[in-house]
């Protein structure tokens, strides 16, 4: 049984729309110039929580964050560090007010993250999978 043309069009539009509002997947990336090919959630978590300043291969790691309040940031820390935004704030507040805090690089949005990381073999960041480009490599899908 074939559907009338109009209905087919509506169905296709519906499918297309649902695909575009589907929740993107967060992936952790490094530059394609980096020699890192994969990382565990634990290793990634330590870098972003300021506990490790190097990759497992002993090269320096520079974490790039997205702005606080962005859904992708919350999803990243929830999956990789098992901390919600309040827990992340509490974690950093303890470090900052005891003099152990550190500064981080910040990029507004996945596209800017990709731009920063592509040129820096030491950088590591998290983006929406849909914003992947050829000059960066996925090392973890949490």
């Amino acid at each position: 049984m074939t559907l009338p043309g109009g209905i087919k069009l509506v169905l296709m539009l519906a499918l297309a729309m649902s695909a575009s509002v589907a929740h993107g997947e967060v992936v952790v990336i490094v530059s394609s110039k980096s020699s890192i090919t994969s990382l565990t959630p634990e290793q990634t978590s330590r870098i972003f929580l300021g506990k490790d300043d190097k990759f497992p291969n002993d090269e320096f790691a520079t974490p790039i964050d997205q702005p606080e309040g962005d859904a992708i940031r919350d999803e990243f820390y929830s999956k990789v560090a098992h901390k919600n935004p309040s827990q992340m704030d509490a974690y950093w507040s303890k470090l900052i007010f005891t003099g152990e805090g550190r500064l981080s690089k910040l990029a507004k949005g996945s596209k800017e993250v990709v731009k920063l990381i592509a040129n820096d073999p030491n950088a590591i960041g998290y983006i929406d999978k849909r914003d992947l480009k050829k000059n960066v490599r996925v090392v973890l899908t949490p």
Binding site: D53, N84, D89, S93, F97, L103, S104, K105, L106, K108
Partner: protein, 397 residues
């Protein structure tokens, strides 16, 4: 009185501003558009990228404390002059505090921390005090040295025990924190971090001195040195510390002086926090001619924005080390044993804010008034049990 109202108004203003300055907490130095300036003091930062910068942040709390034991005052810190129970029904001084911190990044390797806090003090005022003031030289992310007024990481939260936002409970477990030996050292410290496989270890050494004065007692601690070690593996961490000092005291009420004596303290802490629940426990032994022990164990779960928890804490009867004569100072610490069962919850109702409600059931041992203060002379509350209620809002900015 005036100071308290001024503090409340200031806290409210800060709370309203905190929304606008929320981003500052994570120490971003992002400039608009592409490219950011990194000020991570690591060898991979070229000096030409670096620009000196300064960050302001802060924290505070406002809350009430209530105790059903009206024959004495329940206090959150054993140096405070009054608390809830006898002096006040719904006491607000113990929980009121506000601190502002300036972080200065002068060069990729040199930074400074300056923190001023206004909180209820041993002299009964809210006079602002310098909490931390130090300069740090960072070799790399795994090693630094600092000089100035530095915190002593005796317990997991001793350096941040005023930052209510940074821990789940309404206040750090009293029995343990009454035995906090010394909060800060004026001197130097050095940190070294290293890893073996998936384990991370950070070791800190400190050396300095500390002076403390209050209407009741002045103390001077010299040759204050300590070693503090934290081992982390996955979601677990273990903390061990040893510190010693030579301390002398002046009793301002009686005019008696205790000459310098050796004190040392050992502590041990364990924490496991996989995210949706956590358990933590710490123990301290304070040692001089009198040995005192305190510990707590706490457990909590996280459900959306709520973190309900339970704590059991106790200060157990100590003992005199053999062959020593108890001094008047020892006798102050003796007969203080008490234990507490607590239940409470933290609610992260808004970004950078939390509300906590906690109920403590405090049990005094058979020959002890616990850490209650302002108990009339000769009144003994031995063996009694009473309730303490805390409601506090914490914030950071």
């Amino acid at each position: 009185m005036f100071q308290k109202y001024w503090l409340s108004v200031l806290l409210l203003i800060i709370a309203c501003l905190s929304d606008a300055t929320a981003d500052q907490l994570v120490n971003t130095v992002a400039k608009s558009g592409s490219g950011t300036t990194s000020t991570v003091p690591a060898s991979n930062t070229s000096s030409s990228d670096f620009q000196p910068n300064f960050q302001i942040s802060g924290f505070g709390s406002l809350g009430v404390l209530h105790s059903t034991q009206t024959a004495g005052d329940y206090v959150l810190d054993s140096s405070l002059p009054s608390g809830a129970g006898r002096s006040s029904d719904w006491e607000t001084n113990n929980f009121s505090r506000l601190a502002v911190q300036l972080n200065s990044y002068f060069t990729p390797h040199i930074s400074g921390q300056f923190q001023v806090i206004t909180a209820y003090e041993s002299n009964g005022t809210f006079q602002p005090d310098v909490e931390w003031l130090n300069l740090k030289y960072t070799f790399n992310q795994n090693a630094y040295i600092r000089v100035g007024r530095i915190g002593l990481p005796t317990f997991f939260d001793s350096g941040n025990h005023d930052v209510g936002y940074s821990y789940p409970w309404a206040h750090p477990p009293s029995e343990l924190y009454y035995l906090l030996p010394i909060q800060s050292s004026d001197g130097v410290d050095a940190l070294y971090r290293f890893g073996i496989g998936e384990t991370r270890n950070s070791v800190k050494l400190t050396y300095g001195q500390n002076t403390f004065s209050s209407p009741i007692i002045n103390s001077t601690a010299k040759d204050l040195w300590g070693v503090f070690d934290t081992i982390e593996y996955g979601d677990a961490s273990i903390h061990v510390s040893y510190q010693e000092r030579n301390a002398s005291f002046q009793n301002n009420l009686t005019g008696t002086n205790s000459p310098g004596r050796e004190f040392n303290d050992i502590s041990l802490g364990v924490n496991y926090d996989p995210g949706n629940w956590f358990v933590t426990s710490e123990w301290v032994q304070s040692r001089t001619s009198y040995l005192a022990n305190a510990m707590y164990a706490g457990i909590g779960i996280r459900i959306n924005k709520f973190t309900p928890y339970l704590i059991r804490s106790q200060h157990t009867p100590g003992s005199y080390s053999s062959g020593s004569t108890p001094s008047s100072f020892d006798l102050r610490l003796a007969n203080r044993s008490q234990s507490t069962n607590s239940i409470g919850a933290r609610w992260d109702f808004k970004k950078n804010f939390d509300l906590k409600l906690q109920y403590d059931q405090v049990n005094l041992s058979d020959n002890s008034n616990g850490f209650l203060i302002n108990v009339p002379a000769n009144q003994t509350l031995y063996g009694s049990t009473f309730s303490v209620f805390s409601a506090v809002v914490d914030f950071i900015f």
